[in-house]
């Protein structure tokens, strides 16, 4: 009975029919995913169709289609199992088939490498103005509510609560925080408006901190890759002796990129530089509460990844084709300093010449040295994309193995064929 069941399972998993069916589903999925990008944007389409085990229902051309399909994870895993099973059952260590074995190994490496990349790769950004030093990079998509408190004269303790927890609502507690955080509202995307004397058309949501000077309102979620969602939350901090008040926490107040954007937009509205500075100072003023004998400063900001080394932006070079706004060359000269290894050197990062260091790759990503920015009194800014991908070599190795395997197999047949002809 068991043997029969096992036999049937092995037959299914080793069958070429399964391979064909899975490849057909993969083609269908790529087609649907590509169409879905139009409405949902690249990131959402990837998350919904490819980073998924099973897809329940499709949204195409503004219509809901009640269909259940295998997601990218399921197809990939099944293909991997299919390949492994077939390999194990039919494996023969012979000269004749060595090319096929190498090719299959290459395909397995590609599949496993993609899974590891998907699960473990991290893309963050490092944004700095000329002269600034940074030892951390920030996520473009994930956010965290952080509470910092002084640990000693040199260090601060940071308790970082990911936005995923905030979006679930309810109460959040942590042994390092002498209070409970009650999430009253969480908006994945929001918009601020300054409560200028002429714009105060209603009472603020709370009179604490930034909310006294700024209103925030939820707006529709952004789906394109060019625009990002800027979350805002209304939280109540409850200490041992009762509530410490309602507070607005927003990425608008702690995200360098968004603040710079706001400054530029105010500058475009022809507000004076002094007024822009005054408004922004109110926006970024730190918010804090006292609890358990300590001061806790808090902010909602992009998730940070700290590195054991630092980069200092020495110079930005931004050239355009004469007479146009088309960029010709963006490059950043940075100083890399690592106190652990004693390294201290200058590196130039530009298109197709990233810096690879400590398992990370730094690509030149954005640059803002526009006239509008300069009119707003902003120094030239460079943004590097920081990619950590432990499996970055697997596509290269996988493709190389597939190529070697195919060439080997072909050569083997060719040599055999030529030898046969000679004998004749």
């Amino acid at each position: 009975m068991l043997a029969t069941l096992l036999k049937r399972l092995i037959k299914i998993f080793t069958s070429l029919r399964l391979t064909v069916i899975l490849l057909a589903f993969a083609i269908l999925l790529v087609f649907i995913g590509t169409l879905a990008q139009v409405d949902e944007g690249l990131y959402n389409a990837q998350a919904r169709y490819f980073r998924q085990w099973i897809i329940f229902g499709l949204d195409l051309f503004g219509r809901k289609i009640p269909l259940v399909l295998p997601g990218g994870y399921l197809i990939g895993t099944m293909l991997l199992l299919n390949l492994l099973a077939a390999h194990i059952c039919r494996f023969q260590l012979s000269k004749k088939k060595i090319g096929i074995q190498i090719t299959h190994l290459g395909v397995i490496l590609l599949l496993v490498g993609q899974l590891v990349t998907d699960m473990m790769a991290h893309e963050t950004q490092m944004r700095f103005v000329e002269g600034e030093t940074k030892s951390y990079s920030e996520s473009p998509r994930n956010y965290e509510l952080i509470f910092t408190s002084e640990e000693n004269s040199n260090e601060e303790q940071v308790v970082a609560i990911p936005d995923k927890l905030l979006s679930r609502g309810g109460e959040i507690q942590n042994e390092n925080l002498p209070f409970t955080i009650r999430v009253k509202s969480f908006w994945k995307n929001s918009e601020p408006s300054f409560r200028a004397p002429m714009m105060q058309n209603g009472p603020p949501l709370t009179t604490n901190g930034v909310a006294a000077n700024f209103d925030f309102r939820p707006v529709a979620e952004e789906k394109t890759m060019e625009r990002k969602n800027v979350p805002t939350a209304l939280v109540e901090i409850i200490g041992a002796n009762g509530s410490l008040g309602d507070w607005m926490v927003s990425d608008w107040t702690a995200d360098g990129a968004m603040i710079r954007g706001l400054e530029e937009s105010y500058a475009q509205q022809q507000l004076g530089a002094a007024m822009v500075k005054g408004i922004v100072a109110r926006l970024v003023a730190p918010q804090s509460v006292f609890a358990g004998g300590k001061k806790f400063t808090f902010a909602l900001r992009p998730e940070r990844i700290y590195h054991p080394f630092s980069l200092t932006l020495l110079q930005t070079t931004h050239t355009i084709y004469p007479g146009t706004d088309i960029p010709k060359d963006f490059r950043s000269r940075v100083r890399l300093q690592n106190p652990q290894t004693g390294e201290n050197r200058e590196v130039e990062i530009y298109m197709n010449a990233p810096l690879r260091y400590a398992g990370l790759t730094f690509y030149q990503y954005q640059m803002d040295a526009s006239d509008v920015a300069q009119q707003a009194g902003l120094a030239p800014l460079s943004a590097l994309q920081v990619v950590r991908n432990p499996a970055w070599l697997t596509p290269y190795l996988g493709c190389a193995l597939v190529a070697i395997g195919l060439v080997t197999q072909f050569m083997f047949h060719l040599v055999g064929f030529i030898s046969k002809r000679k004998t004749k």
Binding site: A3, I10, E132, E156, A196, N201, Q269, G323, L378, A379
Partner: protein, 393 residues
């Protein structure tokens, strides 16, 4: 039998492989799930939750080669006949329109930009507008005077009819570099008209004077008939000491009004004292766009007097005020109780849209003083010369 044994062996082999795969996947997945947990770590103090240094420290860190608006000099000039000042658009500190009897027009703008030494790119941009090939070297037609400074004059004329497909276009650009800033004076229009206006353009350039270190608040005297401009990014100039109007003042200030330093976000503030310590205040502010709209602001004022908000229909009687104060809205006049002081109070307010900005005037305080000052308040609004306030917030 042998087949069954072989299959079992293969089955065990496969189970082992699946187990290894499952464990590897679990390890990978558990790493991914780590992003959902609260993290606690320690960082050096300067890396903590302080406001982003790239924003707050930016003005201080700005290299000296960049344009620093607060250090910009101010411009004085004399306008030729037929030139009319208009509200400057983005990037400009001054704009003018020139028209003749035949309806031909030209546009003149003054644009300060950080000196980059690559002005040839701008010249080529303008040449591109004129459908002309780019130059590899800057070849100025002639050197002219812009006030006391020499300036390079570029005279770029199209060879094709670019205006309405009928007329050729011409751009005259004078460029001079002062310190870290390149100033561009640019006239654009129909070829024949710009050529005719070239002499006026050169006269205008000669009249330009750069005035350094003018204090933020200046009185309205001593500038004669010359125009006085401040780059829009600079501090606001409020002209006019008491009861005086001059070329550079925004308003004629009625007697008895005491000018106070305006709090942040107000353009001007005045206090009017009455008997027995009674007083009224005049607040003036300006915002880009509609500043929130007429109804919202009227209701904000009503809220300050503890009055219920108006509906859209309640505004009908206020819809035509253009004859009185140059605004499509009428003057509002409400009596109520000051929500801050709890005292009976009267509010007279006006909202005046001007060149993409909206000006808000409010006279509020003791009912008797407000009644006495209402006419003076309206005259004060009528006296506004908004051209002198282009750099107002």
């Amino acid at each position: 039998m042998r087949r069954a044994v072989n299959l079992s062996k293969v089955g065990i082999k496969m189970m082992k492989t699946f187990l290894i795969c499952a464990l590897a996947a679990l390890a990978v997945l558990s790493n991914g799930c780590d992003r959902d947990n609260v993290k606690v770590y320690h960082v050096a103090k300067e890396d903590s939750a302080a406001p982003p240094p790239d924003q707050i420290a930016a003005p201080e860190q700005m290299p000296t080669t960049q344009m620093q608006p607060s250090q910009q000099p101010q411009l004085q000039f004399t306008l030729p006949d037929g030139w009319q000042e208009i509200a400057p658009s983005q990037m400009r500190v001054a704009s003018f329109t020139v028209t003749n009897a035949n309806g031909q027009t030209a546009d003149v703008g003054v644009i300060p930009l950080p000196a980059t030494g690559r002005e040839i790119q701008l010249v080529n941009m303008w040449r591109e507008q004129m459908k002309l090939p780019a130059l590899t070297n800057e070849t100025a037609v002639e050197t002219v005077s812009a006030g006391n400074d020499p300036a390079k004059l570029f005279d770029i004329a199209s060879e094709q009819p670019l205006i309405d497909g009928k007329f050729r276009a011409r751009i005259l650009v004078a460029e001079l570099t002062r310190g870290a800033t390149s100033w561009f004076f640019k006239m654009t229009g129909e070829d024949s008209f710009v050529t005719a206006q070239k002499e006026n353009f050169l006269q205008f350039l000669k009249s330009v004077l750069f005035v350094e270190n003018i204090p933020a608040q200046i009185s309205g005297t001593g500038l004669g008939s010359q125009n006085f401009l401040v780059p829009k990014t600079n501090t606001l100039v409020i002209g006019g000491a008491h009861s005086n109007s001059s070329a550079n003042s925004i308003w004629t200030i009625p007697s008895g009004w005491q000018q106070l330093p305006p709090p942040e976000f107000l353009v001007a503030k005045f206090s009017i004292a009455g008997a027995d310590g009674a007083s009224a205040q005049v607040n003036v502010s300006s915002l880009a766009g509609d500043g929130g709209g007429f109804l919202a602001n009227v209701n904000r004022w009503r809220g300050q007097l503890g009055l219920p908000p108006f509906a859209e229909a309640d505004l009908l009687p206020y819809e035509n005020g253009i004859d009185v104060i140059g605004s499509p809205y009428g003057i509002v006049d409400f009596v109520g109780t000051d929500s801050k002081t709890g005292k009976p109070s009267r509010l007279v307010g006006a909202i005046v849209p001007q060149n993409g900005h909206t000006w808000f005037y409010k006279l509020m305080g003791d009912g008797q003083i407000v009644a006495q000052q209402k006419d003076a308040f309206i005259k004060f609004i009528q006296s506004a010369n908004y051209a002198n306030a282009r750099n107002a917030p």
